[in-house]
Amino acid sequence: MFSFIRSGVALLILAAALPAHAALKVLATTADWGALATEIGGDQVNVYVATSALQDVHRVDAKPSLVARARTADLVFATGAELEIGWLPVLIQESGNSRIQPGSPGYFEATSVLTLLEKPEHFDRALGDIHPQGNPHVQLDPHNIARVAKALTERLSQLDGAHAQYFQQREKDFDTRWQAAIQRWEGEAAPLKGKPVVVMHRDQTYLCQWLGLNQVAAIEPKPGMPPTAGYLGQLVTKLTASPPRVIMVNAYNDPKAANWLSDRVHAPTVVLPFSVGGSKEAKDLFGLFDDTLNKLLAVLK
């Protein structure tokens, strides 16, 4: 009996010691950060993505399965700027995992290395669900991805010094391909400049800013507030006077309001992947931008 317990304890200790030599466990809050962690970490990371492209990352449940993943994670890779505030703090708190507490090397926020747009001048919830640090939907500007990739590489190297060179090599390789892709995308996207578009929520702001699209209206009257009939009515009046070229919807959005508006202002709706996995083509970060541009160019050229 005692030897049984002893061998059990030995096994437990062994199990606790093992992960030090295994791949880093990364808990990414979105599919985009998951894809980026895979680009940089290669087979030295084991990535689990907490949400899918069909979810609003601001509004997911702190599911038991996610708490379990947080327990064993070596690194939490989050967006930050309060995007995940409704659930990530619970995961971290319930995880019993000291390595991923904010402030530890095992907690990394993409927005901590980015300059955010739409940083509110004053904070008032009457303005909707605004984020004091600025708009957190940063992933649709590819330059942001490149910046985050560099910071992530540093963080992975810090957590797993033995593979620092491996991570840096992969980052270098990724960055070469990424910069080339950015150049190609920016070339292809030239005709999009200045085109008037309607967005769903302010989560397409970075995309619009990058491509020079002219965001003339948002279907949500205020961030996080679904549109009312009255507001949509006003929108029709406003947009009939100066019609947009396209109404941009994200894969995770309910397209009802956008389709309704589309019929009335005679502008097509385009469903963009928004996140890796948001469409068949958006298999990875390159696919995400390829598909987003192709879909926009198809209606805006």
């Binding site: 708490v67 540093e154 810090q158």
Partner: protein, 468 residues
Amino acid sequence: MMSCKALAALLALAGMTTPLLGHAADDVASLRAELQALKDDYHKRVDALEQRISTLENAPVGGLAEATPAPEPAPAMASAGGGGGGTGTAFNPAISLILTGNYAHIDQDPATWRIGGFLPPEGEVGPGERSFNLGESELTLSSNVDPYFSAQMTAALSAENEVEVEEAFFRTLALPEGFTAKGGRFFSGFGYLNEVHSHAWDFADQPLVYQAFFGNQFKQDGVQVKWLAPTDLFIELGAETGNGSGFPATRLSKNGLNGATLFAHVGGDYGDATSWRAGAAYLDQRAEDRSFETVDEFDLPLTNAFTGKSRTWVVDGVLKWTPVGDPNRRQLKLQGEYMQRRESGLLTFDTAGSNLTDDYSSTQSGWYVQGVYQFLPRWRAGLRYDSLDSGTPHIGLVESGELPLSAFPLLLPANPDRISIMLDWNPSEFSRLRAQFDWDDARDSGDRDQAFRLQYIYGIGAHGAHKF
């Protein structure tokens, strides 16, 4: 004298933390200057950060020959995860305030409300009062203390102008191997609803079984240790002990601890759309002179008391089905809990008068099931069924013939039940208006009480995060 000193100390503290109140008008100018200096400093830092970012961007990607003196991971900003972010001085705790209230229309006199066959629990149980009622206002402050602990306090301000410390506890952040410890006053971690604060309930009140067994929610001053298994399946084990200050336990007239609570939860996903959690718990507690007001066979008021063991089993389960990914568009939440309690010891009749004592034992049980469906982005509808079984208690004083059974009207066997429906509208993440209708036979009188409540819940301050 002492209170004078305390007052003075408080005033001094207030003067320190809110200088604007304490200083005269001539200080305003210097404060302005200080603020300006702070602003300038802030701008400088932002500029410096921006510069760092641009240097990083322009840095040659190649020549990273020097190993990795990993630049310190962007300070300050990384604080997030928690509240903080910008809404005040960086070190202020996250503050949130919940306001609730209702308008109630209740057919039968709420003063006669009771749960048939069950000893009256302590706590604010029952449907509440008629007409407009201010509910509890919950003020929560929370923050990390240091890298090792976080702390949180919730004060409940009642409509009767009383302040109650609902929860006040510290929690560890840095224990190894999946352990977390908590100490202070806190809602016990067993079951599903026990830990949930009232503003996050899916109905205006707790299920009858929680009201009868724990006077809404069980808490005491004590400690909790939880362990989370390092597995993909969520497995959580917890143990608690404390002073027993919450019903059905009482504080004891000796040193040491009152009993123990053990609980386990298991959870996971089933496919992409379904998540679940199930649990079981056992509470082993003691009550000493746990008194309750009642009447005797002549309807005269008197006080009885119970001393003995109280042991409770709890089984709980919750399942959420989110077909389109976004729980705000469509979600079905099903939950249910079952409890069984065995009490054995001594029952004293009329502690202030005849003071007769003999043995007593009971086995009581109860359960509820409820479903809440989010069918449109702002709308949820719910249905709940409550059922209790008081069993037939063994009362020594009655069996020995000393007293008639009618001397214990509260202990007459009963099977209370209740049906509730609710509809709530959530204009935003921070506001909720709810209508609830109950067909309530908690009295087990056969004549169902009907209660209609309109309730509001508003949250201001830090953005809350809720458990599953």
